[in-house]
Amino acid sequence: MFDDFFIRALVAGLGIALVTGPLGCFVIWRRLSFFAGTLAHSSLLGVTLAFSFDINISFSVLLISSAVALILLRLQKTTKLPSDALLGLLAHSSLAIGLVVIGFLSYIRFDIMGLLFGDILAVNKKDLLVIWAGGAIILLVLKLIWKPLFASTVNYELAEAEGMKPEKINAVFTILMAAIIAISIKMVGILLITGMLIIPAAMARNLANNPKQMIIISIIGGLLAVVLGLYSSLEFNTASGPSIITAALVLFILSMFNIRKFKQLKK
């Protein structure tokens, strides 16, 4: 059944949505949208390095994203610049370096558009394995660190005081973020992975009244966005990655209507 490119795209997208759902909730709760964007931007450098040294793309992206995340943590401690300035600095400089390195790789045919926006229709069976195996590991780790991670999201000092080791947990979470970007970069692309993390979770925030519910709604929203986006890209012959994000946006807008109606009913 995985011989059809469209089925492969669907299975890949659903696998990614399962993981971006819960991670996206934490991105919103911890106000990490820009952080996710920075990691995604820096992944272009990871991709070019993968081509230069002929190593696995996901692996090299994971490596570079983790490195950028660690540099960020270090800079936050040693400089007096605010976090958003540091994020901008890292995002754009690593993107720029990535593009410069591409210039040196003129002997390789390079599809920059594919990197920036992803090409979910070109997913092969090996990619599927990376997504589902990698995704399963990310979800498993997330489940293991759920309690301390959630506690330190609610209040860092409380978590520290009561033995939840937030510093270690934050480092693990950062690596999970780098990992989801690494396994999904090929499908949704550098510019759109952040959308996949944030939009379904934002939609879920409109509808949920407790953390677990928000995660479940976020996953469902992501899955729906993938299905709707892919089928409409087939129907209207549009780019698949952007179509998925657009579908997610439509769901978000619908969730806004829902609240307004709900509030009117309450009155």
Partner: protein, 249 residues
């Protein structure tokens, strides 16, 4: 535990420096099982900082901190919940500990906020939130309770009841308490050991000893030292309307 005389946490000559300024310096204290240690002092005197040193929140400190337990309940002075987090009181209760439904209900009942269990945490009033914070800290049956102004914003009647509750809990669980409070009446009547801070330890000892200290008078004014006399006054009798003394029972 028996080896160190039931000490739960011990600070030896500790201090924290931030941006070349000492937040607090040279603090030594120990909290033992079943004892209440209270920190008093004016604003900015380093009370919360000292509590955070004891909790291990500050990493780069002078001196030595030894913790002999991991079962700690903390009521911070300030806590803000981000509106992006949809979180109910019941979710907050089991934040750092796995609790059964009954345990959550019981703890909330003790602090008088059982009816708020399914409310959104952000919609609570200041006093209600404070009651939830206390309920959360005691629900995990800690060995050590660190309470940083635990009854701020609570109504007058509730304030006394909560202090009573805290004392009761410490006796029942046999836990040690590190308390920060501006309420000198309560501090002096219910505490085993008082530390008076002002960037450093001004004076310390039993409440009876501290109120007599000249440094305490300097810091809190003369009226503060009369506090204890009110409480040492034992009400074993009542006064009838004409002023004659009637012995109780």
């Amino acid at each position: 535990m028996s080896l160190n005389n039931n000490i739960l946490v011990k600070l030896e000559n500790t201090g924290v420096m931030l941006d070349n300024k000492w937040l607090v310096k040279g603090v030594s204290l120990e909290v033992k099982k079943g004892k209440i240690v209270t920190l008093i002092g004016p604003n900015g005197s380093g009370k919360s900082t000292t509590a955070k040193i004891a909790l291990g929140i500050y990493k780069n400190i002078e001196g030595k901190v030894e913790k002999f337990t991991d079962k700690i309940g903390y009521v911070p002075q300030k806590i803000s919940i981000d509106w992006t987090l949809p979180i109910r009181v019941s979710d907050f209760m089991s934040l750092t500990e796995v609790l059964t439904n009954d345990e959550i209900n019981n703890a909330l009942k003790l602090t008088g906020v059982e009816h708020l269990k399914n409310n959104d945490l952000r919609n609570l009033s200041g006093g209600e939130f404070q009651r939830v914070l206390i309920a959360r800290a005691i629900s995990k049956k800690p060995d050590l309770l660190v309470l940083d102004e635990p009854v701020q914003g609570v109504d007058f009647k509730g304030e006394l009841a909560l202090y009573e509750l805290i004392k009761e809990i410490s006796e029942k669980l046999g836990c040690g308490i590190l308390l920060i409070s501006h309420d000198l009446h309560v501090v002096m009547s219910a505490t085993d050991h008082v530390l008076c801070l002002n960037g450093h330890v001004c004076c310390s000892g039993t409440p009876q000893a501290v109120v007599k200290d000249s440094k305490y008078k300097e810091l809190f004014g003369d009226r503060a030292s009369t506090i204890l006399s009110v409480y040492e006054h034992d009400h074993d009798h009542t006064h009838s309307p004409d002023g004659t003394i009637e012995t109780k029972k």
